[in-house]
Amino acid sequence: MNHWMIFPILLPAVVAPLIVLAIRNDIVLARIFSIGCSVALLMVGGYQFGLASDGVIRTYAIGNWSPPFGIVLVLDRLSATMLLLTAVIGLFVLLYSITGWDNRGRHFHPLFQFQLMGLNGAFLTGDLFNLFVFFEVLLIASYGLMVHGGGGATRIRAGIQYVVMNLTGSSLFLIAIALIYSATGTLNMADLSRKIHETPAATQAILSVGGALLFIVFALKSALFPLHLWLPGTYANAPGPAAALFSIMTKVGVYSIVRLFTLSSVGLEWVLPAALATLMIGSIGVLASRSLGQQASFATLASMGTLFVAISGSNSMALSAGLYYLIHSTLCVAGIFLIVDLVIVKRPGFGDALVESPKFPYQGIIACMFFAFAVALSGVPPLSGFIGKILVLKSTQGFPNWHWIWLILFVTSFVGLVGMARSGSLLFWKCNTTQLDVALFDSNNPSPQVNSIPSPVASSIVLQSVAIGCFFALIAMLSVFASPVSVFMKETAEQLYDSQKYVDSVLGKDK
């Protein structure tokens, strides 16, 4: 029994209450514990990734109740990848937030760790209802992070919309689980995979409707057209680090779809129109955006569209392209939202609005970072966005109407590039020659005479740049080592499509 498997869930589940119990009023201690936990998660994630790459599917029966009766955790290539990705995003976003965001409201660190716990749980669990539970954990923590640090009426409003949409989604999730349980009598995913084909004709419709509703739930989480309307408002109004962390949250929906639909051997070709619509809406939004945060949100939407285009290919080649793109898009989106936040902090009075402003501190370095991430996000060479896009392009050639897909992918790329060039040149180039009067906008330090506290506008951005730089370094590595990564993703996709192996690993061969 490999107890390491429970650690990605257990570690934050212990550290977060510990912070709440003992050190909720000491931000320094909370930071130390939180960072420590994230570092440990990264190490465990790396270890498990190494474990899983041998292709063996490992299980962990919680409470020693054998599946399908108890809850089982399953570690395969996909879940190990997602765990590692979560750990990476978590650590670097945390690194960014300890420069001040975490102190703008209460309970940032416990909520952050609980969110990681929910994510890790969702990626590890092999039980449908348990997946629901972890969805709740990560969502409820994300509600807290979404409205962290107060914020104006727009943020609260966006937060409420986010809560309402997700609670509605959760209700549907429960209905879907009930339908599936009533048709198969089980909640274990491996068991489900087996029972699906044994369902009598009389109740097959119930099962199918359950599956369809489940898809709707996950599509809502991943903002697939026509369930995409919530995403831009939520992401653009969330605090920067929260939005950066949310980059992995939309992927939970994708993960769940991939997991369940490969296990049940149901094709996803019919998702293609919705995927293309999402892609187009996102790109149009990138061009239309009036603030950088909004633009990043629409770029996120577009990347979800691209991801779904790949997934709708429903074969292991397309899926592996999609998984590569998933990693790329998660890293990019996380980085770009941190940059958006940096712009807001350093440009007081103007925020991230795409309007002309005076020059602001650290403009050059922020511009460089934006340029790099914009290149990656819009899929222009030489970064992973380009490689990912070609992988996706190649994977769609099996479709009868592939040239239309190509056309849309190319045109949206172009539109996104034009949109980002416009916003970048407006934000970083088109500046009044006047210098921003730092003292004027300093909220922490209303009297310019007292200069003991460094103002957030003028204070250095070393740690922030390091955090964003780490994301960029990962994107660069993803580009340079695209080949081994994509080989791994191919193996991951093949493992996913070999659902019999999953079932055997979880339930044993003899059954």
Partner: protein, 931 residues
Amino acid sequence: MSIALIVLLPLLGAVFPALMMRLGKNESAIAASSVTILSLVLLLTNIFAISQSTVPQASWPWVPQIDLNASFFVDGLGLLFAVMILGIGLLVTVYARFYLSPQEALGRFFAYLLLFQGAMLGVVLSNNILLLIVFWELTSLSSFLLIGFKSDSQEGRQGARMALAVTAGGGLALLAGMLLLGQVAGSFELTEILKEGEKIRSSPYYLSILALVLIGCFTKSAQFPFHFWLPHAMAAPTPVSAYLHSATMVKAGIFLMLRLWPVLAGTQTWFYVVAGTGVITMLIAAVIALFRDDLKSILAYSTISHLGIMTMLVGFGSEMAVVACVFHVINHAIFKAALFMNAGIVDHETGTRDISRLGGLASLMPISAITATLAAASMVGVPPMNGFLSKEMMLEEVTHATAIGVAWLLPGLVMLASVFSVAYSLRFLLYTYFGPVRNDYPAKPHDPSRGLWLPPACLVVLAILIGLFPEAWAGSITRLASDAALQSKSPKFHLSLWHGWTPALMMSIFAFGCGATALSLYVPVRSIWNKALLPDAKGLYDLSLNACVRLARITTDRSFNGSLHRMLFLFVLAASALGGVVFARSSYERGERELLPINTSMFVGWVLVIVACFVLAWKHQSRLIALLTVNIVGLISSIAFIYLSAPDLALTQIAVEVVTLILMLLALHFLPKEAINEVISWRQYRDIVLSVAVGASVGFLCWAMMTHDFQSISSYYIQHSKPLGGGANVVNVILVDFRGFDTFGEITVIGIAAMAIYAMLDGMLTGPLSATLLKWTSGLRFSPNRHPMMMVVVTRVMLPLAILVACYIFLRGHNLPGGGFIAALVVSIALIMQYMASGFAWADERVHFDYHALIGGGGLIAAITGIGSIVLGKPFLTSGFKYVDFPFIGKVELASVSAFDLGVFLTVVGGVMLALANLSNLGRMTGDGKQ
């Protein structure tokens, strides 16, 4: 390896000049030029091999999955372009060092320049066509940075964006074309593709490939109708223009057409599209150039015109035309770079580039005047300059080409263009340097420092040398490059100044005469031109882009209008549509279970639920009524649970209903009492139809679920609850043992929810909304007796009793209905009653612990219980129980799950009470509390 280094050196070396800038401008320039020289030396080491007709190659796999490999090769064509890129790059570096003012960020400039240089080298040396695209787009990106270098100027920004949009957009088309090309050819390596000409030309994808590749080439090389970006790229600092628009950026398109000539050329389509575009571009640009007043603008249109010449030559499809094109590429790079640098000198020294404010500079700036005269002579094609030679070759080829069966059509058009070309060249030269000396120059003109005039002078010397001794100075490289472009031995030719009285020479002389005459008539012609209504390419571009942005904004604003109503509508619609389609497409049969008879009490309950739902829908504006009706539904559910023999669920449901009702009532206090009453519109009818349909479907699904028998895992739980779980209450054993992990997650949810509410309200009370909140009053009239004595007494008596009941429920939970969750709710209700009866302040004073600690502690206890089993070598949350005989009490079951249940208990109490404390905090902070 060395070939890859040629490309990588400038790319990686780009940081050096930026760093060396700390030492000074010279050091930065030296760093930049050292990188270039190093790269050039590496390149030249390959000359010997190439002249022996071998092709040095280097290759590493990068992403073989998509046939993207880091493979490079250098043949004659690549060598020629690489030498131009590096050679002129070196001169531009020197020039820029002296050109840019001390205020400008020279280090950054050189970094961009080297990036661009590396990208260009990549384009011409890549063997893999996808790698070529990578570099191709990198040139677009780095030229974006270079053109926008003067970011303060509106023209700089717009020019940069336009160049990026056109060239990177074209790059995307090229990418599509290359992907197809690679597939058709069966390889993505140029060395292989170039052997597959027949296969590619006969493939059904030939036309698509041709169209996509040509869009890429034409955008990059500014061919009509994509030419408009180039003049606006003149907003760049002049060294950039001298570099981008002579030897590099714009030649990339020509390079690629030459490169793919063996596989794409030779068809009718190729001839008409490429040669046609070339001729049109050549003519239009030459005409426009005549009517420009900005020196750089004249040169920009002249560049377009010359690119048109080269495109046309490539388009002819004859081998000799390719030779002429290659030769013209060399010559154009030399004289155009010199001219751009010269225009920069004029700008630098006189403070203007406006030709109408110039004239008579020859005596003031003699060196510049000489270089300009010689370079312009080369541009017009006057012997003995190099431009004359390639122009003669071009005219010679034109006379052999026949378009749409009309022999004179092409020569005629080219003649016309030549006339304009002569006119604008003469105008450029005469109106700047000759004529009377003026006394109104913005600055006092004089020859520049050596750093500025030497680089163009070098180029002019080279131009003369090639003109006088063409075979010695350009013969072998032209042959090498042409061989490589043709992928076969090029036809025999001999470069020389004098070819005899050929038709080409006649045409040249004729054009020269006409051009000079045209210029003498310039004033009247100009006034006609000024009156003519001509389409403005930039205006059209801006107009269409702005229209696109506006359209994008309208559609985006329309669809993302922030309406929660719309989001929910689409969600419900999508769910019901997909569910409906899927249901219709799978098999279903009626359930076989026997239906139970309806009894009166259940019927009453059923009617109540329906009535409550109707009232809710009807009266939902009143939040109080909405809350109460929802609670009725909840209570009837709990009755249903009792009826269906699920006492645990019923207990839980009742407790939850009570707690939520109280908390919601408290929260309602802070909300408007009435929701906004919407105007009845067609939307509401639409929603009514949808919700009735969805309600009916869910009802049907429930019916379907309950009327079918099914096998499930629940029998296992019932069977093993007592022997393995140690508890007779199977529901509780499921909650704390079989599926304790779910419970672990759910108590976390409760804790997080309370903490999130706390954090949110705390943020609101300290954030920008606090002022609004602190001033807020509900406007309700409160009873003078806010804490009635009766209620105070009853609740205080009840508290210990309730706690006792809770203990009882907690302890018996494992075997009988109850458990930590229900016990926690009971305690919470009792505590909430204290708050309500005796006031928040009174209750808060008597609470000596923080609810946060309860949440944290509860979560920790539950987690530690689980970890206990790990310590014992069992999986997380493995339960254990033991029956122990205690004196006086008797046999008692000690189970690890009790500790887990305690964690549940604490977290739930903490969560509920923290939510209450949040509300009480809000109440005390707002206007009401302070009254």
